[in-house]
Point group: C2
Chain length 356, copies 2
């Protein structure tokens, strides 16, 4: 392997507990209730504000806003001060999902048809735009509760998050467009850090800490921790896409292969497949979704199993969470014991133990 | 007619002059140069920041940022203070065009293929998102040059603009989705005010005035003036879509009919067509774009001519600009004479005289 210095050592025993899931559900309920308050109820209900609540109301994990709230509380901040920012983060995420489903031509999301399958592309695009704007408006509302400076700092954080995501997305789209063959694991992790980690972990954790007035010096540790947990989260997601049961996972199984997504599994496969297999795999990845047969997808999946690419990804996710646990132990020693600190620590193992 | 109190009186003589076009070009060059500075040049060039400059570099009118700059200068503000906000407005507009072209499945924009025809839907959507974010980042940069409070006020203005646009868009999408037959001209103008006027005229003028520290009391007049000029602009656009020459206009002629767009021309036509024609028109408008034949489009176009709907729209645009001229004379008397004031006054006639 050509990248990341992750020590090979005995894996820690699994540690995500009932306490973690109880807190996750508690945070999710708080955030969902706040989102329902923030979405206007008026004459634009039928084609704008109604559909805005569609994805949030489906059984999502609510993981990102929970990170923001837990980090704020772990750092001694009040939950109420972070609630609107957490709600905004969840709204940005759902807006992203709406647009992403259109881009990827996905058919189902959280067990139901995607928004553009329900309402058409035009309405779904507009609902996504509207949800983005409502999230921004919610952040602007922080000026009244947190003061001008802290509110602006949070808007800067979210702008950074959105920029990282867009740039990360553009890296992957570039690989797909030019059907790049020689992507390394290091390049993959760099892309994943920008595309996924920033908005799944780093920004939620940073905003939570900033609301609690944590000193900027502590933020560097958050970036490292957020990268490792976020990358593990993404890789586990990619593994589940190939191995999970449809009913549990809520997305199309193997959909990533049809879509041509450049997961670390594909990166490993292309690097390790024998020349003949490699040619056929690259040929399949070079085609459009509509030009890929079920046989093509089955062939790629069989290769991923045969060359140990799925196993490689699972191992990598485990090494990332082990490394995240060390980062947490070493660089978050200043966080006093609390249920919130415990939630953050238990979250590490949840990244790779979750089945949906 | 069931709406807007627009006095029927002798039309004023046309007044847009070389001075107007010279200033428009001057502003356009300034804004384009600033946008080129603001768009990063780095490793994300090929699929993100390069395509971002595609639409701005094509021959657009640069009308919206010009309104912001001229209003700021007319109110005694410095051009330099408004330049970034004007550039942000133009970036938001181009991001909107990118997403709108995807939603509408448009094929050409400003005489060249639309961005998603060049790069595919996924890259184009991401470029639009990135451009929106870069515009927001540019507004955040105002904190350094204009101070926290004025910068935040401008962000609130842009959030309002985006909200109005999204809600206006949702009204029209609702009409299309449910193939609504009984839309009135009043309802049309209300939709147009939200969908078009806010972001074409009202927000550019308001932000320009706010940068120049104009008192909030003066902003109400700007809203009225911006509504009238913006609605005239939109209606002229809809007329041109049916009558202009392809080479000059740069979009598909009659594309609005194929797309099912609810222009004021369609509103008039449905209200005035004989029952048999009306049924056929509604049937055509109830179908998807792909299910409309060239004959269908030709039939609707012939009806629009026969029932005087295009003429009605042209007349309405003229009455709106006449009314805008009165608003300007009465409620902008406090603006001292200057080339910038003259630009704003001449802009009124440009709304209906322009051929592209």
């Amino acid at each position: 392997m050509d990248s990341v210095t992750l020590k090979e050592e005995q894996s820690r025993p699994a540690r995500s507990t009932q306490h973690f899931f109880d807190m996750l559900r508690h945070y999710r309920e708080l955030v969902l209730a706040r989102i329902c308050e923030l979405v206007p109820r008026n004459r634009y209900q039928r084609t704008l504000y109604g559909p805005m609540l569609e994805y949030p109301m489906r059984e999502g994990k609510g993981f990102r806003p929970a990170l923001c709230l837990a980090m704020c509380q772990a750092c001694g901040g009040r939950m109420e001060e972070a609630l609107d920012t957490a709600a905004a983060i969840e709204m940005f995420h759902n807006a992203f999902l709406i647009h992403d489903d259109i881009e990827d031509e996905s058919e189902s999301r959280r067990g139901f048809p995607t928004l553009h399958h329900q309402y058409g592309i035009a309405i779904a695009t507009n609902v996504g735009d509207g949800l983005n704007m409502l999230a921004m408006r919610t952040l602007l509302g922080n000026t009244r509760t947190l003061g001008l400076e802290r509110a602006l700092m949070l808007i800067f954080e979210i702008e950074r998050m959105a920029r990282e995501s867009t740039e990360g997305q553009s890296i992957e789209l570039d690989w797909v467009r030019f059907n790049r063959a020689g992507v390394t694991v290091r390049e993959y992790l760099r892309m994943s850090c920008k595309k996924t980690c920033w908005y799944t972990c780093i920004a939620p954790l940073r905003t939570g800490a900033l609301i609690a007035n944590v000193r900027p010096a502590e933020l560097a540790a958050i970036n490292a921790f957020g990268f490792k947990t976020g990358a593990a989260f993404q890789i586990q997601d990619d593994v589940l896409n190939l191995t999970a049961e449809m009913a549990l996972y809520g997305k199309e199984i193997g959909g990533d292969i049809a879509e041509g997504k450049r997961t670390v599994i594909v990166v490993h496969l292309i690097a390790h497949a024998k020349p003949a297999d490699r040619r056929r795999i690259l040929d399949i990845y070079g085609r459009r979704r509509t030009d890929k047969s079920a046989d093509d997808v089955a062939f790629v999946l069989a290769c991923m199993r045969r060359y140990g690419s799925i196993r490689f990804a699972s191992d990598l996710a485990r090494r990332l969470t082990d490394s995240a646990a060390r980062t947490f132990a070493q660089r978050f020693a200043w966080l006093p014991p609390s249920p919130y600190r415990r939630f953050l620590e238990e979250m590490i193992d949840y990244m790779i133990e979750r089945q949906l």
